[in-house]
């Protein structure tokens, strides 16, 4: 961090007063130096705070180190990895995570695209509508989690109260195995539908109007226009939004922690939450590291996919 600061303050002050110095063969070199001086501090920070910790985790994942027991760590080769990959507990969490990611992201995509489509067809109040719809997305997961916990409370929650006044029975949203995961999906959908909506809307408004006008002259049916003009043009952007959400949902920890703490039983324990339990409640740091590294591998694959589509979109 210290390298570029003097560069930005000293040199211009000195040179600015005088007429420009002679430039020449050294210009390219100084550009290169400048690039290094400007990029290096940021990269160094990332190396120290992201890469180094991950490498440490990689090392720990081959040992039986425990953060509380201390002492020397024994090298156990792939023991942690085989233990995790063959553990029925982990398989269960993987399934829960899969249901959660697919359910939440699927719902968000359908709802978000629908809202975006409806908004894009309005002429008045588009800006206001978009702003209003975006509110949930900007809230902290802590606020969202806490507040839904209150609203979904079985006794005095407003959701059950409304169900009651409609003559429907009470639901124990967060305390029954099956409904708890559903609640988690619903809350995540509530928060992140605006995200898909925002990006879908960006795609929808970018569709050139003349295409619709041309189709309109051809008397193409509405469904035909949607299928052949709207969807193909919005799809690449929508796909990026979906992948982004999938990565985020896969990483999700805070909402689970606040809303259900993984319960009842282990019905809402996602992989992230399970890693936390192994690391900070079980203190099997080695095992948790291996678990984490496996999650990182999945995230890297998803990120690669995301970046590939992003690149494709940019090249078009």
């Amino acid at each position: 961090m210290s390298a570029p600061v003097p560069l930005t303050t000293d040199r211009p002050g000195q040179v600015a007063s005088t007429t420009p110095p002679a430039r020449g063969r050294s210009r390219w070199l100084s550009d290169r130096r400048l690039a290094v001086a400007f990029i290096a501090p940021a990269l160094l920070l990332l190396l120290a705070m992201s890469v180094f910790p991950l490498l440490w985790a990689l090392y720990l994942s081959f040992t039986d180190y425990s953060a509380t027991r201390g002492g020397a760590a024994n090298w156990v080769w792939f023991g942690n990895y085989t233990a995790i990959l063959t553990s029925a507990q982990v398989h269960l969490r993987a399934l829960t995570t899969l249901i959660y990611v697919v359910g939440a992201v699927g719902l968000q995509t359908v709802l978000g695209f629908t809202i975006a489509y409806l908004i894009s067809r309005r002429t008045h109040g588009r800006g206001l509508l978009t702003t209003l719809f975006l509110v949930p997305m900007m809230l902290s997961p802590v606020v969202v989690g806490l507040f839904w916990r209150f609203m979904l409370d079985a006794q005095f929650g407003v959701v059950n109260s409304m169900l009651g006044s409609l003559g429907l029975g009470q639901v124990e949203w967060l305390t029954k195995q099956r409904t708890a995961l559903l609640s988690l999906i619903v809350v995540d959908t509530w928060q992140w539908t605006p995200f898909i909506m925002l990006i879908a809307l960006a795609g929808l408004t970018a569709v050139p109007k003349y295409l619709y006008e041309a189709a309109s002259i051809d008397r193409a049916s509405e469904w035909f226009r949607f299928r052949t003009i709207t969807l193909p043009l919005v799809w690449p952007l929508l796909l990026i939004a979906v992948l982004f959400r999938a990565i985020e949902a896969f990483r999700l920890f805070d909402l689970v922690y606040i809303l259900t703490s993984g319960g009842p039983g282990v019905s809402t324990e996602t992989l992230s939450f399970h890693v936390y339990k192994v690391a900070f409640l079980g203190f099997n740091t080695g095992t948790a590291s291996a678990y984490g590294i496996l999650m990182v591998l999945i995230v890297i694959v998803l990120t690669q996919l995301y970046l590939r589509y992003l690149n494709k979109l940019k090249e078009d």
Partner: protein, 304 residues
Amino acid sequence: MAVSVNEAVSAGPVPDHAPPARRRGFRGRSVLEVALLTALAVVMLFPVLWMIETSIKENRDVYAVPAKFFDFKVTLDHYRDVFVSSGGGGRSTLSVAFLNSVLVAGVSTVLATLLGVPAAWAYSRFSVKAKKDQLFFILSTRFMPPVVVVIPIFLMYRQVGLIDHPLGLILIYTAFNVPFTIWMMKGFVDEVPAEYEDAAMLDGYTRLQAFRKFTLPLLVPGIAATAVFALIFSWNEFVFAIFLTSSDNVRTAPPAIAGLIGGTTVDWGLVAASSVVFALPVLIFAYLVRKHLVAGVTLGAVRR
């Protein structure tokens, strides 16, 4: 069909040519769409409104069954409790947490901007070796699951004594905001023609002066928007905050608010009030940068 409403309003003759039956179908559909949109908006906004309502309800009404929507007693007690400690009248732990949040989010945002903006400019202007790979690597560090990163970070901080220290949070938030700042700012720098700098350099300025005098002033709105997003990310962050801090005078607001539900009885009015106080600045800031929201929420990857 997405512009049919536009056409009906702007281009007068078009609806006239359409057969009457179809026109009525048009209107009916339009009404249906507005109704659907309104219903969806109500569902999306209700929790927020309910939160605001709960924050100004008297405790008796907060727990009323069935829930009271309109006829409740208004009180600002919960908001007072957020800032003033209930016992002696001094500062409450929540208000300390809010101040900590301001400190941590503010400093980490400034650091991320200082590190990220020059790097973004360099990536945009110079041919750097394996530029694409570097940029992808930078973004992928942002996608690491926080729960996984926090394990080695926790051990690292324990070694150097940064656990339960504001500097620890500031460092990790900076590291999480730098990739975002670089990606977001690179987009803004790309929009400023490199010719400006070339022209300035022909006039005799050095590259660095050209950047400072000509490009940087044009980047100020972009930097402001980027900084606001970084601020929001740090402000809302929870996972690192809860694992890397423990004492009341270091804790930031998210874990402090989450801590309100730890006891046997939960003061939901207080939770609601502190949530409102916590969320309000974010909403205001987000409104200020609404033009850049698409780029902001995709970490600078998608630009429209």
